[in-house]
């Protein structure tokens, strides 16, 4: 198991999959058909999952594939099929100056984030989980220890939130006579 992780920590893996993720994300944003957008987003999520492996966060990488590409994106594709959006895939999009202004605004945010990362910020105190200890006990166990001790209340609130989301989805999308 450790040899696999060492393989994923080699530098080129990060750069290759980061480039791929950016390309796929760009294609997701620009493709006209929402089905193509969904598929490019799935590919982006797979690349992100590999990048989680380069950070030796195996649990998050697996959850990324299971939850995002397995559940959330299937829900997206299901709704696209349900609404039969193929016929009006070419929605009237923004054209002209507003579109370019929006893109400019996006790049302004990128520059702002870039400047924020250039500011020297003091690195906080090191936590209790150096990578050797995490590898020894296992990534999943380390997360579980934190989740079920220090973060127990957020965990319980998350379960209530999921229940509320389920009820809300059923109530909102129910066909009502009008």
């Amino acid at each position: 198991m450790e040899t696999v992780l060492q393989y994923f920590s080699i530098n080129p893996v990060f750069y290759i999959f980061a480039t791929l993720a950016v390309i796929f994300a760009l294609m997701m944003v620009t493709s006209e058909n929402p089905v193509y957008s969904a598929i490019f987003l799935v590919l982006t999520f797979f690349c992100l999952s590999v990048i989680y492996l380069t950070l030796e966060a195996e649990f998050v990488a697996v959850i990324q594939v299971l939850v995002y590409t397995g559940a959330i994106m299937v829900l997206f594709v299901f709704v696209i099929m349900l609404l039969n959006l193929g016929r009006d895939a070419q929605l009237t999009e923004y054209a002209g100056p507003m579109k370019y202004l929006s893109i400019l605004l996006g790049f302004a945010i990128l520059i702002q984030i870039g400047l924020a990362t250039k500011v020297t910020f003091s690195i906080g105190a090191k936590g209790a989980y150096p990578i050797e200890r995490v590898n020894e006990m296992g990534n999943t166990e380390a997360i579980a220890r934190e989740l079920f001790s220090q973060y127990l209340y957020p965990f319980e609130i998350a379960s209530i939130l999921l229940l509320l989301g389920m009820i809300g989805a059923i109530v909102i999308s129910k066909k009502r006579p009008d």
């Binding site: 992100l48 959850i63 997206f76 929605l91 893109i103 870039g114 936590g127 934190e146 999921l162 989301g165």
Partner: protein, 100 residues
């Protein structure tokens, strides 16, 4: 080990692409997918800082963000289905009932 700024630049680019998607597209489902992309870039930032600070808190936060994202997608897509039933379109420019 890849240096920290490279991860941050990568997540900043992904976040920007999500912002551009939200600002330029009119299809509600693609706007939703762009929001998912932004959530993912923030998740990656949290895992990066957790790794570089020898901490587990960031990964726990990612777990919670994913739960919130799942609930949000369920409710949001239900809203899109409801609006499509009513107005027969998901173009966000035509959703202006609340504007009065």
């Amino acid at each position: 080990m890849v240096p920290l700024p490279h991860y941050l630049i990568f997540t900043a680019i992904l976040f920007t692409l999500g912002v551009i998607g939200v600002l330029t597209r009119r299809n509600a489902i693609i706007i939703f997918m762009s929001i998912e992309l932004m959530l993912n870039s923030v998740n990656l930032t949290m895992v990066t800082f957790a790794r570089f600070l020898d901490s587990m808190d960031g990964q726990v936060a990612v777990f919670l963000v994913m739960t919130v994202a799942a609930a949000e997608v369920a409710v949001g897509l239900a809203l899109i289905v409801a609006i499509y039933r009513k107005k027969d379109t998901i173009n966000v420019d035509e959703m202006h009932i609340m504007q009065g």
